[in-house]
């Protein structure tokens, strides 16, 4: 009995007529230079482009990708097997679909494949853009794809793990064909891109990334969300004008993937610049440095992480990122047993950004307890940490009455942790015995590293 579901809405298509274009309607074949490709299951339409590897996309050349060292790609993608894959045998894949939500009724009406290829001795970048002009052409397109894609050892996508690949697998299954894409080595750029750039950019869509990282502004592009409507309209009126622009959109997406992959790999490549990698290292913003440092940390490249944090702190950062950078750097110093330096950075958080210093105060308290053997001072610092946490709580409460929102650091068990720590430090500063198991676990870790 809910409030007004307009009666006929549920059976209306979600898409609306697109804005009319000036000029006259034209068949797709007249607008896009492509060919009809025949297979044993009929024909489909394909545009094949061959690009010079010197061609650039934003600040990157396509050929930069071939200079990536496979171990770097393996580390960034977290797919160790990529170490053994020559980069000129990977396939870039991007689909355009009839809907954005997935499910069995969503078709990949266009599948764009990009790959490096030697043509007459020259390295070229080939782009095959396959289109089913009718639902009936899907089987032909899939047949060709299954055959063609089998030549490659690995695929590179942007969010392909959760979108393009499952979608294609569904299409193959619906056409009663088998192609287990799930078994392939898969470098999904979305996740490394998020790790590197989310702190700097917030959103990490491919368009967002190319605008800010590659300094590309697409001209005459169409919004992704309109693409399903464009295809549905094409099926009904056969006017290829909008659909022709989808070819360019798909082309741009694939080139952006090549460039972003090159850029991301070059950022984390620590090999000396002369090792055959003349990739000009672009200047990174301070925010990018924080993201990069965190990636290095996850890769256990502590030297590089330290360098990036220092570079970040030399630049201009938001409060949030500055706290992250100082805490991150101090964490690395602590792991490398450079406790006094670590303490300086925690102290910097306390001095510069007192409202965000709970975690730093806890770390300082541990430092004074275990390194400097000053339980009194450690106790005072732990008290300050608790007060800071409570202060954060009450600030959060003032913003959101009735809801207890916690500060990022200490865990929800924080009240217990604080009580526990304070009690132990109190006994210690008064010279009372402490039970063995109350030794903080992080001292153990500290002594191993």
């Amino acid at each position: 009995m809910t409030l007004t579901v307009p009666p006929r809405e549920s059976i209306q298509p979600f898409w609306f007529p697109l804005p009319p274009l000036v000029g006259v309607a034209a068949p797709l074949e007249a607008l896009v230079e492509g060919e009809s490709v025949s297979t044993e299951r009929g024909a489909f339409f394909r545009r094949r482009l061959s690009l010079d590897v010197e061609e650039s996309y934003g600040t990157c050349r396509l050929g930069d990708f071939l200079r990536i060292r496979p171990p770097v790609a393996a580390a960034l993608s977290r797919v160790p097997e990529l170490c053994d894959v020559p980069l000129n045998s990977v396939l870039f894949l991007d689909t355009e679909t009839t809907g954005l939500a997935g499910g069995t009724g969503t078709h990949a009406f266009m599948v764009g494949l990009g790959y490096f290829q030697r043509v007459n001795g020259d390295e070229r970048f080939t782009l095959d853009q396959c289109l089913m002009r009718t639902y009936g052409e899907e089987r032909a397109m899939l047949t060709w794809l299954a055959e063609h894609m089998a030549q490659f050892a690995a695929i590179v996508t942007f969010n392909g793990k959760s979108f393009d690949v499952p979608l294609l697998q569904t299409r193959f299954l619906m056409s009663r064909m088998r192609l287990d894409l799930g078994e392939w080595l898969h470098f999904d750029l979305l996740h490394p891109a998020r790790r590197l750039w989310r702190l700097a950019l917030g959103s990490c869509s491919l368009q967002q990334l190319e605008r800010h990282v590659l300094q590309v502004g697409r001209e005459d592009d169409i919004e992704s969300f309109l693409i399903p409507a464009i295809y549905h309209q094409y099926l009904r009126n056969g006017d290829g004008r909008y659909l022709a622009r989808v070819f360019n959109h798909n082309r741009a997406d694939i080139l952006a993937m090549v460039a972003i992959a090159s850029r991301a790999c070059s950022m984390i490549d620590e090999s000396p610049e002369d090792a055959g990698a003349p990739t000009t290292r672009p200047r990174l913003s301070a925010a990018e440095q924080v993201g990069l440092a965190r990636v290095f940390e996850q890769m256990e490249s502590l030297d590089s992480a330290e360098r990036s944090y220092l570079a970040a702190l030399a630049g201009v950062l938001t409060v949030d990122l500055r706290v992250r950078a100082l805490m991150g750097l101090a964490g690395i110093l602590k792991r490398r047993r450079r406790h006094d330096e670590a303490a300086e950075h925690w102290q910097a958080v306390v001095d510069e950004l007192p409202a965000h210093s709970t975690q730093a105060l806890i770390e300082l308290s541990k430092y004074w307890e275990h390194r400097r053997k000053d339980a009194s001072r450690a106790y005072d610092l732990a008290c300050q940490a608790r007060d800071c946490w409570l202060g954060g709580l009450s600030r959060a409460k003032r913003r959101l009455p009735g809801l207890a929102s916690f500060q990022r650091s200490p865990s929800p068990s924080a009240p217990d942790d604080f009580a526990h720590r304070l009690e132990r430090l109190d006994r210690k500063r008064r010279g009372l015995p402490i039970e063995e198991d109350q030794a903080p676990p992080d001292t153990a870790i500290g002594s191993i590293v």
Partner: protein, 766 residues
């Protein structure tokens, strides 16, 4: 004292007997066991034996044998007769035989899925075999879903999840569908009316997907007692089914007593309150250590009952509990467990407990007020009834006309069949919602049969969807071509939207008390309402309608609040109109509004009205379709004002009862409203509205069968044995001198063009 002794004492208590209108006794019945069908895997037989089931009941053996022989079955036996075994055995047997084999269990609610999951799990543990069972519903963590799709042998879910979560992604469930052996549909009787019609279409879609994967699963359905279980199963699953009703379970002796509270003022017809009498009865039963369930008619009613019962018993509050929708799942689980273990001695429930939630079997049931239908009365009474010992069910009538009619005409109840559960899978609106979903799942091939539907009808519907732009035909194949995700736009159930959360702010640290649906909220948790939860009163300090939050503080006052809804209909678009004799029939789009208006404060105990307030909330509305019937000015004048009014109300009531027979829908799928002078037509008008947003086509159908419905209405009223009108014809009558029955017949005669010449005859009677 045990139940037998309590029964004996009641039987010899003249004061009690004076108020009893009928006392029915059902003989105990011994269990009929047979051998396990020889084919069953011995590991399974051993596991069942360890769990105390050495031999099956006759109906269990029949159902299992038929299933193993490849037949679809529908089991209809009494409450707690071990229906679950009828499907668990064939399903587990098939998995033990072939570990690739899969089964899908459908339950109407999440709580039931959980319940059955637990039981099944225990049996599997006993088996010590690798059988993986999972519940798959909205609460299933995303991280677990992949494993369930790949490895789950038995997937327990609900129709809504099947509709929106599984079928549209069937390729991810390839393993399940390719190997699907059994589909279990429990609580079949629940799938009726609009919901049932939707579920029938979901099952048609399921059948298409199974065909795609080359699977032909069998159905095993279980139902509570209804008039037409085989027909319902057949219409829902689209296949023939074997009815299994040779109930072999043991049943103790049962007493069913109709109790009419004594009159305290004969002249005014005021009786002692049913609530008070029910509470007193429950206290007596609890005092004698008889585990008792009390059914109230509404949430508020159960809470009042709970308070009253707790006040007069030696038991702790933990041993006497409330149970209704709005309690949080964990709390409900705890109460169910307490009932099974016997630590909870008494429970006061709404019909939330009618469904097969496992609470064990209780010794006594007290039904405070008539539950509304014969089927649900039997189900509530059936909650009491143990295999070996005696049980007692008492129906306590309240002073409403319907209750009084039933309690004074017990044969009306005992001699009639329970109602039929009606569904109409081919209802055009429901169908048009599901065809796009079906095409999304698999393109429609030309001449494909959709369920039992005539392919020509299906093609016509597909063409119309093609014109609307959601489907596209290509070479005789219809493809989904409408954008994102059609299942999202289709809700199987009416009216399930964001609930209002009730937050207890008595303590500085707020806690969530419970929730209630947005339609109940205006009357239940409006500002200044007294909301009862587990017997504790809460004063609603504020209802934030935008955020769907109600803030409550614990209080202790001697009153409760009671709010009412006002219905109104306004016509948006007149689709068709026709004059038939002295009435006009129409159908079209209407806006049905429900507005809470005022609430009353009623003192606990004496039920006197001690104040009132207004409810300041936006009215809720629903756009739907309606059929309406307008009486001509001339006829209204000839009938006269008072007879017109009486006959209009009478006709509204009888139409509400008769129309569902022609629409094959549930009476609750219609809302009827009568207006003596309708703002739209300016004349006496009766509206019959689809109780479903957008309508499901009842109105248009009523427009077509107008005369047949009126003819049936006349037969029903004329054939009723009562004198001047009763609930089974023109509705409960409080003032016999209004002659509602006679006037209604006159109005019907006139509309049917039978006799209507001498208005003078009306004044003197027929």
């Amino acid at each position: 004292m045990n139940v037998d002794q309590v029964v004996e004492r009641l039987k010899s208590d003249p004061a009690f007997l004076a108020n009893v209108t009928t006392w029915r006794y059902v003989q105990p019945r011994a269990a009929t066991h047979v051998e396990w069908p020889a084919a069953i895997d011995t590991r399974l037989v051993e596991a069942l034996e360890t769990r105390g089931i050495s031999q099956p009941y006759t109906h269990q053996a029949t159902a299992i044998k038929a299933s193993l022989a490849g037949q679809d079955v529908t089991v209809v036996t009494s409450t707690a007769s071990g229906k679950t075994l009828c499907y668990n055995v064939p399903v587990l047997h098939s998995i033990l035989k072939d570990s690739a084999s899969r089964a899908l269990y459908l339950f109407p609610t999440k709580a039931l899925s959980q319940d059955q999951y637990t039981e099944l799990h225990q049996l599997i543990n006993q088996l010590d075999a690798d059988v993986k069972t999972y519940t798959y519903d909205g609460d299933t963590p995303v991280s677990a879903r992949r494993a369930i799709r790949q490895a789950g042998h038995i997937v327990v879910t609900n129709p809504d999840m099947l509709h929106a979560g599984i079928l549209p992604h069937h390729t991810k469930w390839q393993r399940l569908f390719e190997n699907l052996k059994y589909i279990v549909v429990d609580e079949l009787h629940y799938y009726r009316g609009v919901f049932g019609s939707h579920v029938a279409n979901v099952l048609r879609r399921l059948a298409r997907v199974c065909t795609f994967y080359g699977a032909t699963p069998q159905f095993i359905c279980c139902s509570a007692t209804i008039a037409n279980p085989t027909e319902l199963a057949q219409r829902l699953t689209g296949r023939d089914t074997l009815l299994v009703d040779n109930d072999g379970s043991a049943r103790g002796a049962r007493h069913f007593v109709f109790y009419n509270p004594p009159a305290i003022n004969q002249q005014l017809g005021i009786r002692r309150s049913a609530t008070g009498e029910s509470a007193r009865l429950a206290q007596m039963l609890l005092k004698n250590d008889v585990q008792t369930i009390v059914f109230g008619r509404s949430r508020v009613h159960t809470e009042v009952l709970l308070t009253r019962i707790r006040q007069g018993t030696h038991l702790s509050d933990d041993a006497v509990r409330g149970y209704r929708g709005g309690y949080l799942p964990l709390q409900r689980r705890e109460i169910e467990q307490g009932l099974r273990q016997g630590t909870v001695r008494g429970v006061v429930a709404t019909n939330a407990l009618e469904l097969g939630i496992d609470i064990g079997q209780l010794e006594a049931a007290v039904l405070s007020g008539y539950p509304g239908t014969i089927a649900s009365t039997w189900q509530q009474a059936g909650r009491a009834g143990r295999r070996k010992t005696t049980s007692l069910a008492v129906f306590v009538a309240d002073s409403s006309a319907l209750d009084q009619f039933i309690v004074t005409h017990p044969e009306y109840f005992f001699d009639r069949q329970p109602e039929s559960a009606l569904v109409n899978p081919d209802n055009l609106y429901v169908l048009m919602s599901h065809l796009p979903c079906a095409a999304f799942e698999l393109p429609f091939e030309s001449q494909e049969r959709y369920g039992g539907q005539d392919p020509a009808t299906t093609q016509e519907a597909l063409r119309s969807l093609g014109q609307a732009g959601t489907l596209l035909e290509e070479g005789g194949i219809w493809h989904w071509s409408g954008g994102d995700y059609p299942a999202e736009a289709v809700s199987l159930r009416t009216a399930e939207r964001e609930n209002v959360v009730i937050i207890d702010i008595t303590e500085p640290r707020p806690r969530v008390l419970g929730e209630c649906n947005p339609f109940a909220a205006p009357t239940l948790v409006h500002q200044d309402a007294i909301y009862l939860h587990e017997g504790q009163q809460f004063h609603i300090v504020d209802l934030n309608w935008e955020q769907k939050k109600a803030y409550a503080k614990a209080v202790n006052v001697d009153y409760y609040t009671d709010a009412s809804l006002a219905f109104n209909v306004s016509v948006l678009e007149d689709e068709a109109q026709e004059t038939v004799g002295p009435v006009d029939k129409n159908w079209g789009e209407v806006r049905l509004t429900f507005s809470p208006s005022i609430y009353k404060k009623i003192r606990v105990g004496t039920a006197e009205n001690v104040g009132w307030g207004t409810i300041d909330l936006p009215q809720q509305e629903m756009q739907t379709t309606a059929y309406w019937l307008t009486v001509s000015e001339e006829l209204a004048q000839r009938l006269g004002s008072a007879p017109m009014q009486a006959s209009l109300l009478g006709l509204e009531h009888v139409l509400g009862n008769v129309a569902p027979l022609f629409l094959m829908c549930d009476p609750r799928d219609l809302v009827s409203v009568s207006q003596v002078k309708s703002p739209f037509t300016g004349r006496p008008t009766i509206f019959m509205c689809d109780n479903y947003p957008g309508g499901v086509g009842h109105a248009g159908k009523l427009f077509q069968v107008h005369l047949q419905v009126l003819q049936a209405a006349r037969e029903l009223v004329d054939g009723c044995a009562c004198e001047s009108g009763c609930p089974s014809c023109v509705g409960p009558q409080t003032e016999p001198e209004l002659h509602a029955k006679r006037h209604t017949i006159a109005l019907l005669d006139a509309t049917l063009g039978l006799v209507f010449e001498e208005p003078a005859r009306l004044a003197t009677g027929r």
